[in-house]
Assembly symmetry: C2
Homo-oligomer: 389 residues x 2
Amino acid sequence: MNNFIYHIPTKVYFGENQITNISTEITNYGKRVLLTYGGGSIKKTGLYDKIIAQLKKANVEIFELANIAPNPRIDSVREGVKICKEHNVDVVLAVGGGSTIDASKFIAAGALVDHDPWDFFNSKQEPITKALPLLTVLTIAATGSEMDAGGVISNFETNEKLCRIEKPLLPKVSFLDPTITYSVSPYQTACGSADILSHIMEVYFNMSKGMYMLDSFMEILMKTIIKYTPIALKDPTNYEARANIMWASSWAINGFIDGGRAQEWSCHPIEHELSAFYDITHGHGLAIITPRFLEYCLDESTLPKYVDFAKNVFMVDNLTDPKEIANEGIKRLSDFFFKTCALKSQLSDLNIDDSKIAIMAKKACQNNVIHGFKPLNATAIERILTMCL
Amino acid sequence: MNNFIYHIPTKVYFGENQITNISTEITNYGKRVLLTYGGGSIKKTGLYDKIIAQLKKANVEIFELANIAPNPRIDSVREGVKICKEHNVDVVLAVGGGSTIDASKFIAAGALVDHDPWDFFNSKQEPITKALPLLTVLTIAATGSEMDAGGVISNFETNEKLCRIEKPLLPKVSFLDPTITYSVSPYQTACGSADILSHIMEVYFNMSKGMYMLDSFMEILMKTIIKYTPIALKDPTNYEARANIMWASSWAINGFIDGGRAQEWSCHPIEHELSAFYDITHGHGLAIITPRFLEYCLDESTLPKYVDFAKNVFMVDNLTDPKEIANEGIKRLSDFFFKTCALKSQLSDLNIDDSKIAIMAKKACQNNVIHGFKPLNATAIERILTMCL
């Protein structure tokens, strides 16, 4: 177990109707609130009205930024920053999934600096030492942005989708009500679960030793997603399923499972290129890439981890040959994504051909090497993407 | 899964030599430091000198309270409060196990009020709305006090050992270096592990439903303790064992596993009476009580939880009758405590007879009922304690 710092001061209200605490919490942070949200589904479900009622009860002034898109654009961030600066906003309240929350993080940071917020992401890498306080109401279990300090923003002018992680971006308070996710479609539920699984697997598949407690916890998180996703798909208002998935999603990426591992992630940077070039749903891209990535990385040195995965997550117990056990684990993961979750299994199903594979591979590793579970250069990534076609 | 609030802002530095960050962290909280510790083992191991070096490097003024005893006394708290008030102490640095940290929590709170600190515990139940910032350096994995907001203080004038949990008592920063626990004796290591297991079992054995993720995490925590305690007993400087036990101890009681369950604890209040009357080691008392408590509570309604416990924690897989499986789980737990950990199994081994069982039973439930896994009145507790004789 490597050395690490664990520090997640986010306060989480978990459970049905916990959003009734917004009125009390928001006043701890200010009187002028920027409310951010996505395409308007929160208006259809009635959540918007409930949020507005809470803010009126708190007697705060409300400004709004709507239409934050999936794979959120830097343009939305710029627009939010402008509102914050013009109206001296004190606090940002993000109501949505990872896209709305991620954009809101950089709105909160951008509001306190003079430069363009894309300078947080481009080669300038402007420092993020402070941000407006951010509160979140989660509407889909997927990215874990409600309890972590990172976010990903897309720039379609430059075909870039870039990530930044800085402590001041961590939400102060997050409201997690599983019933809010009852209205999430089967497709988005499946993509969310793929994203959650990927967050865990990016950490789980590594060569560190002596991590029994954390490795075992990761297996539990994966089993939680695998157990409850089919239930949520069949019975979208099953509280137990939605609650377990929602809480697992936060713990998949809030830093606890890392335990000091500094290994880079592999599948996420590759998928970010797909989303940057083709604007596909992030979780779907990960579902397609991950089994091929695992096939690519399987060799004598990495084999033991695959055996643990197959035995402890998918309970493979009818085989004896380690290589066969490993392959059975990959097969069951593929079956989970492409049969249980009914996600399309090939990039060609998403109208993606091989024309940009070379450029995406180079950008994913920044013309260098991803130092993940196995080192991946552009040639390796090209090979993995080709396996996905 | 019930509604809950999750909020643990404690910053944890985990790993070897992390105490080298004390000098930086302490200056975030003040210039006048009360250093608290126990019987002086930290002087023998050299830890004391390292701490002093850190404080000198930070250029802070140091005041000291030594000799905080196991089952810490209200007298130590009073003494610490006096030093804080006389010298306008800004911050408390506790170096020790649960006893030193618990006492330090109420020193930190008592320093900011005018009344006697025992009034936090007696029928006055004075409010705890603020406390001096508390930093901790953990020297034994056991109570979890380094990452929770509670503490237990004894008053041998009144034969009382009472608990109080309040948010302002939560440590600001805790330093967890597994190598510091290399010098913990086999007996104290065993008692620490019994305490950790009990913290988990007080939550795990309950009648709530739909807690798959958290129940599974509790099983992992228990398995972590059961796997690594024998290793730490045989090989006290095994980093992997000490590290996994140490991190599990914090997560056993920091609130994460509760997930909104409001059930009262059963074994701890019973053990607190034993320690209050006989000053025995807390973890040893818990090891003796817990298997008998489980025997007492086993019936048709509680049976499924015992089956989960036996199968998922002790991997009992050779039996089919649920009652037999349940009993095998209890037997393996007893074997862990009394064979693997070599703890004495009977109260009589600790020179405790039946003379005070009736009064202890009444005090444990405050002449009422403990609403835990099963409701326990004084008669029930008397029966459990008699099974321990």
